[in-house]
């Protein structure tokens, strides 16, 4: 390895989320519920030069293999991300993200009069994937269609 090519130490076991759309590394962290108070080392790299995307973000999580549901959530904000599962310092599995057909609890309905926005009720938002590109989600409760800009704005 040439000096400087990998700025952080290698992880033994865990996950590398590569090719994250520039500017969304922290959103990925948020979606995965990582707050730094538990678990292993988490490394975030922003504005990394990439041949595929020009500039990309990368997130490396020590000691945690993402499951497929978590992988799908990432698709909402980083549709080109690659998930590398690292075992014993090597890339053991490479997963591409895929938009799930049902999205629970990650985004909020933009309609203020939607019951899912009533914070006193025991309710979690549910959306259905209406269109992938550009992203469109339909609210399970009020049927309202949310456009991509309304969704990205929430992260």
């Amino acid at each position: 390895m040439s000096p400087g090519s990998l700025r952080v130490s290698k992880i033994r076991n865990g996950t590398v989320i590569d090719h994250i759309t520039k500017g969304h590394a922290l959103d990925v962290i948020k979606i995965l519920g990582i707050n730094g108070r538990s678990g292993g080392t988490v490394t975030i790299a922003m504005n990394v030069q990439s041949s595929k995307l020009g500039v990309k973000d990368i997130v490396k999580i020590e000691g945690r293999e993402l499951n497929s549901e978590e992988v799908d959530k990432i698709a909402l904000i980083a549709p080109h991300a690659t998930i590398n599962i690292i075992r014993n310092f090597r890339v053991a599995e490479k997963l591409t993200v895929k938009l799930p057909s049902v999205i629970r609890g990650i985004v909020k309905c933009i309609k203020p009069s939607c019951i899912s926005n009533d914070s006193s009720e025991p309710i979690r938002s549910i959306f259905y994937l209406e269109e992938a590109d550009p992203l469109k989600l339909r609210c399970h409760y009020c049927n309202n269609i949310m456009e991509e800009k309304d969704i990205l704005q929430q992260f």
Binding site: K111, C142, N143
Partner: protein, 312 residues
Amino acid sequence: MKSEFNFLNRDIVSIKGFSREEIDCILEVARSIEHIAEKGSDMLRGKVLAELFFEPSTRTMLSFQTAMYKLGGNVIGFAEPGVSSVWKGETLADTVRVVEKYSDIIVLRHPLEGSARFAAEYAQVPVINAGSGAEEHPTQALLDLYTILKAKGRIDGLDIALMGDLRYGRTVHSLAYALSLYNVKLSMVSPGLLRMRSEVLRDIRSRIDVIEYRDIEEILPELDVLYVTRIQKERFPDLGEYEKVRGTFAVNLKLLRSAKNDLIVLHPLPRLDEIAVEVDATPFAKYFEQARNGVVVRMALLALILGAIKKQ
């Protein structure tokens, strides 16, 4: 081939939950119990319907009550004024889980969109949406269809116009969707400000052609059904604009001169002056008939959902 229907314990949240065959089946059951609507029956004796009206709607509330009483059942519940004192502060999820212990079916009217779907997720007993937000009013759509069917003998092939406030009126959203399951020619007539919502239009246009108009006159002579809704003054930024629109969208004898003899005029009521009183005595007027049909259709739904009438 016989298709399978399952109405037992079913929630009625959205008109979109129904196939055309299911709607036809409900309308057929309604027709078959017309005589019970006259005489009454004890089909639902011992059953209790709970009306939770978090928003006032006297007509819909009375209609459900009448339907339940005609079938021999009982009704409990509250209308908006009671909400503030008794149920204030309690979540809808809790209210529903308490009230279902008192009742066999819940009828809900609530200001928030999606509230009926949410209530249905928490309730073990079936929930009927009697209006949620600006979104849906499925039983109104069913009674509108029933009125058309009764007056015309069919729904397919009819030339139908929806006129008035197509943007905020929840009844027209559910009705437009229901009509799009049939082979009808559908026109939308409204002032620019009150056009049918684009998401509703897009949905309907995936099944039938819809043309929008700003004026009823040119299409009136072809129409079989004219469905009129109320245009509220509050929707307009200035009074002058409202006054203009009000004239254009008024139904009176002069306008109806160019109509077919068997045109029917419908209105979800209450009306203000969008249909002149002089129209009431003509054979065009079917809006009071609609109110009666609402009871019959709701009887059909209650009997099917609570298992008093079985359909396969």
